[in-house]
Amino acid sequence: MAVKRKKIPVPDLDLVPIMNLVTILIPFLIMAAEFIQLAVIDSSAPPIGKPPPTETQEEDPFQLIVMIMDNGLYIDGSRSVKQLVYGDDSGGASSGDGDKKEREPTFRCTDGQAELDTCDSKDHYNWQALADTLVKIKEDASSGENRVEDIILMPDHEIRYEVIVRAMDVVRDGSGLVDLNSSWRKLPEPGDKNYREDKAPVVLFPKVVIGGGKIED
């Protein structure tokens, strides 16, 4: 005897409740959405006055200053920094006489092909040369446990904020212009006397202090 097979109708999935949920969620998520991601760059106010004297006062305490001028970048600081950058303590060339004496920038403005008299945009500054020099200074100043991380930025009064932000990016971690992962810069492995628990990322000078005004001779 033939058995008749009943066809069981497959019910359609009811999507209406899910649609209700999605329709309510979407306006809420749109209100809370962040289409532009924000970040911050930390900086501190420059200290006022001389630091208190310590028992072991270094003869030439490390100090690194980068001045941002409208015609380029200038590096100044302690004697060791000047020796490394300029080969002597003079701090590079200067032009003019008397009260009108002005420092010549360490790295002049450039459009990639020729030097310019003034930097009209943040891309005209020679950030590559600055990053390369900062790496050399970091190599020279860092030894064992001594990790120098402080830098002072001194922009001229007409320098725009986006140039200052670009400078902060470059001095903090090179901003992709230099490879900080070469052999000498690798973090010490566990067991090495210089090993640090916090495994801080390799950086240049992350502690940025923004100061105002030009340094007078």
């Binding site: 979407i26 998520l29 959405a33 924000l38 970040a39 106010a45 725009r160 986006e162 990016d169």
Partner: protein, 175 residues
């Protein structure tokens, strides 16, 4: 002769929402990815364009000082207007807003210093109840074309009111 029209039971029309579900699911996934958990926000302002930076550090809650091309706000309250020349792009703090004895101190007619002092007092009172210390942090949202001359004065004024830790807000370009 009456025409007997057979009543035809029309089948119920069903709405096919499968394709709409596909679209909603994709939008939902995208919005979940863009969901923000930070308290810091930037309100659209024609005179405030933040610079881009490679920094990835997340902002923390602090007193917000916004320096747009034409005005300065503290915690979304407009404090003072700036002299902004649209033709030349020059931005200056009006002379009457500066302290006559110290041109770095914005303590003139509308007194940014006074506003920051009030913010500090409020924070100190709040911290007493939570037994936390006053950190002295300030979030600076500054337009990318503002000259350092203005920034320097804002930072100096904040420093005079015991705000010594600055967080410069930037747009993250990528990790």
């Amino acid at each position: 002769m009456a025409l007997k029209t057979a009543r035809r039971d029309l089948p119920e029309a069903t709405l096919t929402i499968t394709s709409m579900m596909d679209m909603m699911t994709i939008i939902l996934v995208f919005l979940l990815k863009s969901y923000s958990t930070t308290d810091i926000s930037v309100k659209p302002d024609g005179n405030l364009t933040l610079p881009a930076s490679s920094s990835t550090e997340a902002p923390t809650m602090a007193v917000q000082v916004l320096v747009a091309k034409n005005r300065i706000l503290v915690d979304e309250n407009e404090i003072m207007l700036l002299d902004y020349d649209q033709a030349t792009g020059v931005i200056r703090i009006p002379e009457n807003e500066l302290d006559p004895d110290n041109k770095l101190f914005i303590n003139g007619e509308h007194s940014l210093a006074k506003e920051l002092e009030n913010a500090r007092i409020t924070l100190t009172e709040q911290n007493k109840s939570t037994k936390t210390e006053f950190e002295g942090e300030v979030l600076l949202q500054i337009d990318r074309d503002v000259p350092f001359d203005v920034i320097h004065r804002v930072m100096f004024t904040a420093g005079q009111e015991q705000f010594g830790e600055f967080q410069f807000v930037v747009i993250k370009t990528g990790e």
